[in-house]
């Protein structure tokens, strides 16, 4: 929403400081109670035909336009691979804690469907998994057997994001497959090398071996947040290449100052569909568990793959 529109609305209410009043003078729970009442009154005025009209105009509420059973098969195949590689699949809540994405990462809350009762509609499952991991660690419900042990979780979940879609085939809500590895820094980039190698193994098993995607390759890019990201990239790449000659990796060590989402290393997974190279996966290190647990030794590697995007690409008629 642009500032001009907000200003216009505030003018109409005759309360120019309404936002300040609601966000600063009220506690989160008071604001929630107030908004619940506002929505309650507002909805009580709706008629059934009005509801239908709202449904027809709302781009977030429509079902997905694909063959559900075939898509579910693909989803199950992906989850089977995740589980076999010990990335324990999680059935996440449709909502996450309000601010899950924007508090710890440079994500705009306006691109997320904020909801009541301290929630937002899930916009990135890796953030929800990171919160779950931090909770498990802080409450002692998960403890590593040895310092290098990793906690591996996965999900295939429907995401909702509010920006208008500009690419053909993209939709306001879509399913993403996610992998998250959490561990601690044990020196010499050990966590980094192992976790990236494992994520790439899973993606290779998913796209190349299971879904028969063509020309799967990975591109590594340096990102800020590490003392020597070029060395990090080379160590990770060399570690993977020493084990697997069948996983093609290219490096892009040009510094990208604008991308502060990932720390040290970002990677992209690319496949070829009908002669065109398509970006089908993305991942890298993030500092979210460091922030949640206030411990700089925490490490977190995340990956996301376009499960629904892949299905749509493979089932395009032209």
């Amino acid at each position: 929403m642009s500032p001009e529109v907000i200003e216009k609305i505030l003018k109409k209410t005759g309360q120019p400081d309404l936002i300040g009043l609601l966000t600063e003078s009220l506690s989160a729970s008071e604001l929630n109670s107030l908004l619940l009442e506002v929505f309650n009154r507002s909805v009580s005025r709706y008629s059934a035909p009005e509801l239908l009209r709202n449904y027809q105009l709302n781009r977030f509420v429509k079902p997905v336009d694909l063959d559900f059973m075939r898509f579910r098969e693909l989803e199950t195949a992906v989850l089977n691979v995740f589980a076999a590689f010990r990335f324990q699949p999680q059935e996440l809540s449709p909502v996450s804690a309000l601010g899950s994405c924007s508090v710890v990462a440079p994500a705009d809350q306006k691109k997320i469907l904020s909801a009541l009762r301290g929630t937002e509609v899930l916009a990135d499952a890796t953030n929800a998994l990171a919160l779950h991991i931090a909770d498990l660690k802080q409450t002692g419900r998960w403890k590593p057997g040895d310092p290098s042990e990793q906690l591996r979780l996965s999900a295939v979940h429907r995401h909702v994001r509010t920006p208008m879609v500009v690419h053909a085939g993209h939709t306001p809500h879509f399913k993403i497959g996610c992998l998250v590895s959490a561990g601690r820094d044990t020196g010499d980039f050990r966590f980094e090398m192992q976790s990236v190698a494992e994520h790439l193994s899973v993606l290779t098993a998913v796209f190349r071996d299971t879904l028969k995607a063509e020309n799967l390759r990975f591109k590594f890019m340096t990102r800020g947040g590490y003392d020597d990201p070029v060395r990090l990239l080379e160590r990770v790449r060399d570690h993977i290449c020493s084990q697997r000659s069948d996983v093609p990796i290219t490096l892009d060590t040009e510094p990208a100052t604008s991308n502060t989402y990932y720390k040290g290393l970002q990677y992209k997974a690319l496949i070829t569909v009908r002669g065109q190279e398509i970006e089908i996966g993305d991942g890298g290190f993030v500092d979210w568990t460091q922030q949640f647990l206030q411990n700089r030794k925490e490490r977190l590697m995340t990956s996301g793959i376009g499960v629904e995007w892949f299905y749509r690409l493979m089932n395009q008629t032209t």
């Binding site: 590689f85 193994s201 899973v202 098993a205 071996d209």
Partner: protein, 268 residues
């Protein structure tokens, strides 16, 4: 793909092989055990070529593995001991954390005779051991034994115990004789030769094969010829005179490999 085919004559430190004692030789090709470590970042890939043999697979560790065939985008996540049926496609298995399996490789059509089901019902499939052999804790028996030789001795004992109950008839025996002929005759021996040798008409032979194995005699002959030739290819490369293995030339062998496996020999 870095997947590998393991052959019985490729001695590796990960593979142990033992051959059956005389009474079981008509039924069992061999026993083998694969103990191969792997890590999530460097998983083990094994390829299974199309095969008429059924396998009894006893899993000695408690790990999942993935299995998928060459053309369909489906994957099966497997765990635990199972009967593996004959396969008409290339199958690849991924063992993310390595594998430790003890296997019995039965001669075509024989596995089901021991356990009371037709092998053809398991074509391109697998089923949990306890489902088709309820009340027979074979995997428990073998898991608790300390080494490969003890497991061989124990499974031989189990199979020998079943031997007197094995049902056979003249059709099954004809099929076995035909398979033996394909296996031992020179590469150019065809289905018409075997019809003459047995002797049986081709329509009868066709019927017996499809009833007993689920495949035509021609397909079985092609598969046996391919596996013999592929072994020679692995040993000698493309310079081997493939006409001696029953092909017109090397290109013919390559075409046949592609037809049977969707890949060329060098990709296997």
């Amino acid at each position: 793909m870095k997947s590998q085919v393991i052959y019985e004559d490729e001695a590796t430190r990960y593979l142990k092989i033992a051959y059956p004692t005389a009474p079981l030789r008509p039924y069992v090709e061999y026993f083998f055990e694969v103990l191969q470590p792997a890590t999530l970042s460097n998983p083990l890939y094994l390829t299974g070529l199309p095969s008429l043999n059924g396998l009894l697979c006893v899993v000695l560790n408690d790990r999942h593995w993935l299995s998928f065939h060459s053309s369909a985008p489906t994957v099966q996540s497997l765990k635990g001991s199972r009967f593996l049926g004959p396969i008409s496609h290339l199958f690849t298995s991924i063992y993310p954390e390595g594998t430790h399996q003890f296997l019995v490789k039965f001669k075509p059509g024989m596995m089901g005779r021991f356990f009371g089901f037709p092998d053809r019902e398991l074509e391109n499939g697998q089923v949990d051991l306890s489902y088709l052999a309820p009340g027979e804790p074979i995997d428990d028996l073998l898991r608790e034994l300390p080494d490969f030789q003890s497991r061989v001795n124990r499974i031989e004992f189990v199979l020998l115990d079943k031997l007197p109950n094995l049902k056979s008839d003249y059709r099954f025996e004809l099929v076995q004789r035909a398979l033996h002929y394909f296996q031992s005759a020179p590469g150019h021996a065809g289905v018409s030769d075997v019809s003459r040798q047995l002797p049986v008409t081709y329509p009868s032979l066709y019927r017996y094969f499809t009833e007993e194995l689920g495949y035509s005699p021609k397909y079985c002959q092609r598969l046996i010829r391919f596996k013999k030739a592929y072994r020679l290819y692995k040993l000698h490369g493309s310079i081997y005179p493939f006409e001696e293995a029953g092909y017109t030339d090397f290109s013919h062998f390559v075409r046949e490999t592609r037809l049977l496996t969707t890949k060329v020999p060098s990709e296997l």
